[in-house]
């Protein structure tokens, strides 16, 4: 090697072209910034939804969701004279004396092995047939119906839908910037949403308990449904998933209901049996077998 006199070889002592900050620090700062922004946006928009839901009148709601009723209309029409549906409707109408929702509610059944009931926009409660097999007493069934009615009274069905829209919009906003980030934020949003939903469930449980007391003058059977659910969930085990669940765990709901009952001084007495028409086929309603 014979370098030219113009050229003096040497390597730079330090590399100024790269930053020497720790990347994890930058990551933590940026991530908390994004999360804080999104949570703030979700929280304030959520409050806005709650506020707006109060302005939607039952008539307006019926118009808004009229298209949704078309899909199940044929099945629901066929059910119209089903003695079980008529009985459910009668029970719910009577409960309405203690829990005035303010607009007509309709109850329908859907074939499913799951024990559950849903409150759909437009005032339609759908009871899954599995619930009728699980529930043993009229009081237990009344509690479930009163719980769904409480959701209408609190306008939770509208709030839930509105919040769903807000979260979809927020995640779409993030997807525009880089879809991987959405995955990072989604759990935080999910926990926020789950907590809100659990809170609404607890409120609906409270109103349902009050309705039950007003109707039967005791609260026997209020925890019946959750006890059945608890047995089921014990087999599955929930663990961490509880943080993301939309409904509180059955144990907590039973505890909360018992606490509430003792605070309010609600007595617990013998429950009335389930009306015979509502009993599941395998339990043995002679009427149904003779068909």
């Amino acid at each position: 090697m014979h370098p030219s006199p113009e050229y003096r070889p040497g390597l730079p002592e330090q590399n100024d072209n790269v930053s020497h900050d720790h990347p994890l620090k930058e990551f933590a700062v940026l991530l908390s910034g994004v999360t804080a922004f999104i949570l703030l946006a979700a929280w304030s928009l959520g409050l806005l939804v709650d506020w707006a839901a109060g302005f939607i009148s039952p008539e307006m709601e019926a118009v808004m969701f009229s298209s949704m009723q078309v899909s199940g209309a044929a099945v629901f029409d066929k059910q119209k004279d089903d003695p079980r549906r008529v009985e459910l409707q009668r029970l719910m109408d009577e409960l309405g004396r203690c829990n005035e929702v303010g607009y007509p509610l309709q109850v329908n059944m859907a074939p499913s092995k799951d024990a559950n009931a849903f409150a759909f926009p437009g005032g339609r409660i759908v009871v899954l047939e599995g619930l009728l097999d699980t529930i043993r007493s009229e009081n237990g069934l009344s509690f479930v119906l009163a719980h769904e009615m409480a959701h209408y009274k609190h306008r939770d069905h509208l709030r839930g839908m509105g919040r769903g829209l807000v979260f979809t919009a927020l995640s779409a906003l993030l997807t525009g910037a880089g879809s991987d980030i959405t995955q990072l934020i989604a759990p935080a949003l999910g926990i926020g949403q789950a907590r809100y939903s659990q809170e609404r469930e607890a409120l609906a449980d409270k109103l349902a308990l009050e309705t039950l007391h007003c109707f039967y003058e005791h609260v026997g059977g209020a925890t019946e449904f959750f006890e059945a659910m608890q047995e089921e969930s014990e087999e599955q085990g929930r663990g961490l998933g509880g943080y993301f669940a939309s409904h509180p765990e059955a144990v907590q709901r039973i505890d909360a209901l018992r606490r509430l009952a003792s605070v309010s001084g609600f007595a617990e007495r013998e429950t009335a049996p389930l009306p015979t028409v509502l009993k599941g086929e395998h339990i043995g309603s002679p009427l149904r077998h003779s068909k």
Partner: protein, 158 residues
């Protein structure tokens, strides 16, 4: 529950990206520094003239060296977060720095007998540009003129 599974999956990718990205980067820097020490005696300039020397030019040749380096998952997410706020995308700095130095080294290594490299140029291009959810990688091409000189003895006896 779905969100939880998604998060675990995501965090695993992030950790893998961080750990292996860091290891790969350290290893690469060690190699770069080692080889730069070895090649520092060979002049390489962006000037158009042959550096003044008392020796005659024997021949010249186009020398190229190129490298493609990918970002790891962690760096990509960090850059994505940076995209929202703006500012220096620090996570990509080492990537481009390594690519430039590696390309120059490869160019030099392609002509081990050359005495000088002049007219050195660097071209940078991004691979899979503008396509979402694709591996972001950068290509750097270094090219220049390799100059071969006659030995000193020949120059003194024309």
């Amino acid at each position: 529950m779905d969100a939880l599974i998604q998060l675990i999956f995501f965090l695993t990718l992030l950790t893998l990206g961080y750990v292996f990205g860091k290891i790969a980067e350290k290893k690469h820097y060690r190699s770069i520094i080692e080889r730069e020490k070895q090649w520092v005696q060979i002049p390489s300039t962006s000037g158009r003239r042959v550096l003044s020397t008392d020796r005659e030019v024997k021949r010249v040749q186009l020398a190229t060296g190129s490298v493609v380096i990918s970002v790891d998952y962690f760096k990509r997410i960090l850059a994505g977060l940076r995209n929202i706020f703006g500012g220096n995308v620090r996570s990509y700095e080492t990537l481009v720095d390594r690519a430039r130095r590696e390309a120059v080294l490869r160019m030099k290594e392609s002509c081990p007998q050359a005495d000088q490299f002049i007219n050195l140029r660097l071209e940078t291009s991004s691979i899979a540009k503008g396509k979402k959810n694709q591996i972001g990688s950068v290509e750097v091409l270094a090219y220049g003129t390799a100059v071969y000189l006659y030995p000193v003895a020949t120059a003194t006896h024309p």
